[in-house]
Subunit: 362 residues, 4 copies
């Protein structure tokens, strides 16, 4: 399987470039009988859509999805679900500058070294706009997970640059343009972002994602672990540089007597493991945290080279997110949904006949 | 592909349990003509071997590897390389206690929930002893990477519990039982470990791994990214709870003007990206950092439940590493080697005809 | 990987239904730098297009392909190539009859049993119209194989019902609507087909496909054999019931002294093996032959059951090929091209460093 | 996934060479709880064992299997099942002759061209002795299929050279060394084989395999069809040159009114489709037929070249099957079992929630 597909049984294939005619994808392996219409996908696409506040890119895209196959009379048929999102706002701007220079922090140089050629328009295939495909595929997965297993998946911005955003309530998340789970901090975030935009610079972010209602037993030791697949999926999101499950890097400083989650007949007493032990879900909340680097496209001048190898400088103008992490929550949710659905299917393939023990604690 | 194999072209399949007759594996896809003998693998196995100091498990295993196929007259033939490591020290101890109780922090409960049955002897398939297979497969990969591309892969312990171990020299690593790249700290580490063992508790650790000499161009956007595959591989190692590439979680607090690595005709001016941009190697050092949780097997009593669901307590006696991170460097190196080799093969499959640009900066 | 993708490195993913909005696909893994435009694909689609003679279905489809990604300034970029073929002639006919009855020989019953639901319009996903995706993907593969390795792939109709069509010349193939490599037989074929149509019945066919110029060395023992992958690919074509490589079933009656192809410094003296030994190409012509069953949609009344399990009869009217084998040559060529390209890439991944022996005989 | 593994969820990985220390394999994805011991596998290995009559190779191998993992207290645990079969009868004969010459019909030349090196001892990896791994993996699959779904899989010799063996009874199969389902023909077969051996030549064969009790619904359109995967699996068996499902090549001469199997409330009226429609099982008997070429190792002198490219001749002495088809029935059964089990698991992964319609006809 090549690099533009992922998943073993819930398999997502993606295509499209930032300034090409369209993005699209194929979701293969979805069970038949799921009620599905374009609006189910659209709802999630709208959550990640550009232009929704002054703090994100002002590119104008309706991001309207068209379902091309796999659905008949409002239900999935079990065959491949093809979908398409046309690009609308490909400005006819002059790309010769960035066609001849490599933007620091971008994939310009690596694509050029790998492929010999590259599509420089808006980042081409490396554009974060590719995440529309992930969000679309994730929308189907999360709908199935919710209806079939009662799983709910939510994400929020946990750090914006150096500002920590203590979790207060999921209800706050949809009421502000930052996906912040703490409404009280929104004015501070807005002020920070306004200053950042003015400075021409960008900043990093942390996004937390959790899945509630995941049954115990999903995940395959020893390489196909649930947490391993989650880590790979998260790190495949543009700009992500780190992934944690549960206590994550804080585990380093913990003692075993603190980290190892004790159990009682009423359930686990803590969740340092993040919902996964030995690569298999415990039945607790699956909790993931990711680090997103600051946007590489900034207005400040930077040293670089051109395609002839000569030293030069570059300033990236245009409509860029000053913090890609702000719109990342729906994307991280989507990736978690896809991995969980893949493992739900894989688990029941192998273990459908395992008799549930009545003494299970969750 | 099921959970006990990984890799697309350099494909590793693993089997074995802690107290079964043997561990073994199959490496498929290795190019023909590589000089290979058991000693090449043995050398790496010996680096992770238990019992090498008082700070690690005292289980006595020679970990002798036997190559069963794929090598003829000292060279790989291009066919599947099968290998075997017999278990020797499976003490005939009474497992009834842990057969009926779930050890906190272990996979006991999740295996039981997933499969309905489990092999309780020494953790069965969930034992970290499975990493012998990874190290063996990695030994072949690193030999090929070194001989074919000049890639060298090294790892070291960067934090032991709350003790940070500032990097001083790779030369120090093999001269102490901690894989510490700083000989001056060894007395402090020894004292810490002696106290830890005495307390009956365990601690977490951070391990850093780097690959030098990786050419630009390895990795496949958008899901098959080099960093995504590295993250998945690292998170699949027992006890790993977090993975970072390059600046990792420190990226959150960075500005774009700091994080985005500038380029000159002499090369990159920094390496915050960790050797990967857009999922493709830049030609810089590939740098990875992982967090390992504290060992779950500790002598202190812990609350848990038994298989009938009743509350109980458990103390884990036996021969356990008080810090699994101490022996983890060779394992993380092996996983990085396997991923890099897989991508080396994948890259030349697709891009063998790309003409190298003479103006490349590395 | 689920059922709508195939190939390891040259990976084709397909979606679409007969009466849905569109068919489309994603080709992943194509090397960068290949000159490619829609016309290259269109040319092959036109060869399999319906309505091109009175002997095939009269469904009117322009089968116009749109390339959506992966190509920039007329060259492949190495990223996923998405393409789309809109359906145009979905007659608004009443499908209630076949929605409630199972057509003998069709996939109606099996889809219903597998998925619980099915799209009855024109066969839905089971329609042979899905082969547009295969032909499109094959068009890219054959172009690359020809330009990179000088491989040429051709197919012809070898039997039409009980009429054998002895091979005379490849030049004849494109000059008649049957893909017959023997112009002299065309009048007989036309007469046969006219009578068949009149009778309301259908017939089977044999199609032969060969690839010339395949270098020695492609194919992976022991399960990923070139011939095994060819057999799987051919059997995945609608209506195919048998596959032969080289002497095929005639091998049964051969002696070893006849079948085993002798070698001389000038090359092999025969090609009973069909260009593959031990799963690896020999450098000879790769020759494949397939059997296609008679079209299941016939005007004659047939016994069947309805979805409530009651006995009934069905006559299938509409625009159907009386012999699906007639248009199958371009499809079989496409599948062979895809498999060969996949193995070309796989081979150079593993064996790029093997030094060609100057004493090779081809 | 590389060439030495097959299967998506029931995944078999194989290693070993004819004169290396051992063959072995890993079966991944087997459901937990299956009663399994070495004797279950041994029984099937004994059916394909060499030396069981004068009509097959006289190589002496006990083919004793050792299970190394994945089974605990007589039940599969759901983890990878590793197994080993040591080679015993690797005669220390001089291989220099065949090391320097290519045996016609063998993989000697293609391995040499692909890999640059090859293990010439007894065919190395290309030896049909590799089928011990297939038979072992198939033994586990058929046991699970039988116990879980009531599927039974049987094979027989249908043609020996030009002698057709009309099917009479499955009971006859195990009572003669030819796997002939017709005891009356055994004397004729014995006479034929005695003459063949005396002549120093070899012959081809046809083997039929059927699976009874396969439920409707297994198989994945459009590339992952059940029949496509069966065709690939069968063609991957050494010496196989052709595969048919159901009516196979006879479909060419059939009319649609004959081939398309009519349905009644009591079931299908015929089985020309061979138990698969649209790539999905119908609930009828799955019937497969394969052609095996004559053994390439014959005592008669044959023209060939040596590794320096010079013309020479070769006679292959040693202990070879004069007809590899004779021992092929257990191998073909095993491959069919593995494919069916893989699809059983894949089917329930996606369609576990499909409500069985009470009006189904089987």
């Amino acid at each position: 399987m090549s690099g533009n597909s992922f998943g073993t049984l819930y398999c997502v294939t993606s295509f499209g470039e930032s300034h090409g005619p369209a993005y699209g994808g194929v979701v293969d392996g979805c069970p038949p009988g799921l009620a599905l219409e374009a609006a189910d996908i659209q709802k999630e696409l709208d959550r990640r859509k550009p232009g929704s506040s002054r703090h994100v890119t002002q590119r104008r895209e309706s991001d309207t999805v068209e379902i091309l196959s796999g659905v008949y009379e409002g239900r999935t048929t079990g065959t491949a679900i093809g979908f398409l999102v046309r690009n609308e706002d490909q400005r006819s701007k002059d790309y010769s500058a960035i066609a001849e220079k490599f933007r620091p922090g971008h994939a310009d140089y690596t694509y050029w070294r790998k492929y010999g050629v590259r599509d420089p328009r808006g980042g081409g295939r490396a554009s974060a706009r590719e995440t529309v495909v992930r969000v679309a595929a994730g929308a189907i997965a999360r709908k199935w997970l919710r209806e079939r297993y009662g799983v709910s998946i939510r994400g929020c911005l946990a750090e914006l640059g150096e500002i920590a955003i203590p979790f207060k309530s999921w209800n706050d998340v949809d009421a502000n343009p930052f996906f912040a789970a703490n409404a009280a901090l929104v004015p501070e975030l807005e002020k920070f972002m306004d200053q950042l935009r003015e400075s021409g610079d960008s900043c990093g972010a942390r996004v937390n994602v959790v899945a509630q209602g995941v049954p115990a037993g999903w995940g395959e030791p020893v390489y196909g672990r649930l947490d391993a697949d989650i880590a790979g999926a998260m790190m495949s999101i543009n700009a992500v540089k780190g992934v944690e499950i549960g206590a994550g890097f804080a585990s380093i400083g913990q003692k075993g007597s603190e980290h190892g989650d004790e159990m009682t007949p009423q359930g686990f007493l803590s969740n340092h493991n993040g919902g996964v032990l030995g690569g298999i879900s415990t039945g607790q909340e699956v909790s993931v945290s990711i680090a997103l680097k600051p946007t590489s496209s900034i207005r400040l001048p930077r040293r670089t080279i051109d395609t002839r190898g000569a030293a030069t400088t570059i300033e990236t103008t245009g409509r860029h997110d000053p913090c890609v992490g702000i719109r990342a929550a729906p994307i991280a949710e989507a990736m978690l949904a896809c991995v969980l659905m893949d493992h739900a299917l894989r688990h029941r393939a192998q273990c459908a006949d395992v008799v549930e023990n009545p003494r299970k604690i969750n």
